[in-house]
Symmetry: C2
DNA sequence: GATTGACTTGACCGACCGGTCTACTATAAT
DNA sequence: ATTATAGTAGACCGGTCGGTCAAGTCAATC
């Protein structure tokens, strides 16, 4: 009774791209369907609302960041602080690449939606808060490893991880606003020097 | 031949409040007019478009930040790094206050619009980039004073000011996403320890 | 007191919004 | 072969969007 279909994925990918390239409000359901090659009826067969779809899209953003940025940075068998440094380099290259391809710095898909929707769509705000938490924990894990190795001392790893994530998002916001990837190159490496003591 | 009128200011103040409380896309021209007690015709007499109005609103956001936050922090005759520290404290109290009054952390009005519109409205992106530049210069001035006093050495004041502003925006974004002012209290003071060396 | 022009009024526009609905198709289970 | 159902198609809905416009009001100028 179930026909296999890639429609759901097509919708997700379409929304992923369009929302990242502009904003939640600026991308209509009709555009998402058109870009996916799908009719509106199918859209609402798979997703009860645009907000629901966006929460699903957010999860794919997280998976991408986790795999393509953090996972990539951890592949080299380096000290944890070096791996953190890797992250900043990978992000720079990614932002630079999208700038070359689209002419624009698109920023962070999570931060973009966080600032746009946190006050008007509670389920989305909550979803993003949850994702930020998981990213923070990835940072924290690296900090704890560095602590065990004796690379850092007297540090509040949880608060420092949160501070690093905040700096990360802030730098990317500035790069997007100036539409200049070099902002990332100049500022983001300093992320690994942030410390919040106990 | 010119009748004095507070209509323009009423529109500006209305838009200021409504856009800060939600977002650019979520606030219609009709809502702005209604909240200002003004008819649509008057709106388009004073402002050629919603985008133009928003650029004027952005300038008022800057003036407010400059006067009510930076100006306030500089009133006490303290060492420059202490004055920077003051800024973080004032911002915490402000965010905490809006949370108490509205139940929500509204974040930074500049950062909010920066992430929402930088890729879709070039004049607005440019306006925000300009404002960020001026804020960065305020930070830089304090860093240079600190340098002259010998409080800090071997520092790239321009890059460090940019990094501090980025961290500032990032922390406020996280507070908004978590809808928790305590994030600001815990993370923002570390802003003054950020250094980017030459 | 006639003229000028800044300002106000509110009806109106086409386009688009998110979402609904009914009819239809295709396939898998019986 | 019949039935059940997941998925597709696309017309349609009321409401809202940013923006326009013609008509009018009012005060300052001459």
């Amino acid at each position: 009774m179930n026909r296999p279909s890639d429609t759901q994925e097509r919708i997700l990918n379409s929304a992923r791209e369009l929302i990242y390239a502009s904003s939640y409000a600026d991308v209509g359901v009709a555009s998402i369907c058109e870009h996916a090659g799908v009719k509106k009826g199918s859209f609402y067969h798979f997703f009860p609302s645009k907000s629901d779809l966006t929460r699903a899209v957010l999860e794919t953003y997280f998976i991408d960041i986790k795999e393509r940025i953090i996972g990539q940075a951890l592949m080299d068998d380096l000290p944890p602080l070096q791996q953190l440094q890797n992250i900043t380099q990978i992000v720079y290259e990614f932002q630079k690449q999208t700038k070359e391809q689209t002419g624009q710095i698109l920023g962070c898909p999570l931060g973009n939606l966080a600032t746009e929707l946190s006050t008007t769509d509670e389920p989305i705000r909550n979803k993003i808060a949850n994702i930020f938490q998981r990213l923070q924990e990835s940072f924290q894990l690296l900090l704890e490893k560095a602590h065990e190795r004796g690379d850092i001392t007297d540090i509040n790893t949880e608060a420092t991880a949160a501070a690093m994530l905040a700096y990360f998002e802030g730098v990317i916001m500035m790069a997007k606003t100036r539409n200049d990837a070099e902002v990332v190159k100049q500022l983001l490496p300093a992320m690994v020097n942030i410390r919040i003591t106990q």
